[in-house]
Symmetry: C2
Subunit: 130 residues, 2 copies
């Protein structure tokens, strides 16, 4: 299995404050942004800053604290691989947080605890990272 | 400034449980491990799983909750650059969490809030990632 994470996503209380930190502080440029999420293309993965409430919905969790709210995403090639990897992760002690479904941005995802990771198949090109 | 993170480090309660998840679940191989930290080389950065107490010491914070304990590290080329970047981050709303010092693994680091990041200069080759 590819030894890679596709997204590191932080749950953020105020996007403008976070944007100032990464854009003015680090001098980084967003690759995509809207009212709830900003993506920064890193070398090999994407850093996302996501409104905490939206991240909670995405992860099917509540009460995430910030700082501390984050998710790691590992993308795979197709829907079948999502299910295959998830079975292995559960066998290795992971706990499923949300049943498989189709997120609004497309693709197919599963979220689980133990590392707070989400697994998705190939997302739309604007959010895809392989 | 390079648009990259060098390390994503998770604060972990039990390393063997976490190791099982990443090694048996994902099928990943550690690139380095000891009793307090395990590193996985990703494409472009390193994922670290660090005992939470050790992460707290590293970040000069206490009371991190797990899951939720993590740090992001951005490495730069030299000590001077650590100070330069930190000044910019503070000007952009960041808060310094630990004054500049030399960590036990070598190099030079500063930690700050707002993204829970740490800045370090080039570390020893076993932990370096550029």
């Amino acid at each position: 299995m590819q030894q890679q994470l596709s997204f590191v996503t932080l749950g953020i209380g105020e996007l403008p404050r976070s944007r100032r930190f990464y854009v003015e502080g680090f001098g980084w440029s967003p690759v995509f942004e809207n009212e709830e999420i900003i993506f920064y293309q890193m070398a090999g993965f994407v850093l996302g800053t996501f409104l905490k409430s939206a991240l909670e919905e995405d992860m099917n969790r509540t009460g995430l604290v910030s700082p501390g709210a984050f998710s790691l995403a590992h993308n795979v090639l197709d829907k079948h691989s999502v299910e295959l990897v998830m079975h292995k992760l559960v066998a290795a002690g992971g706990t499923v947080h949300r049943a498989a479904d189709v997120p609004k941005h497309g693709g197919f995802r599963l979220c689980h605890r133990s590392g707070q990771s989400c697994l998705g198949d190939r997302l739309d090109s604007g959010r895809e990272n392989r």
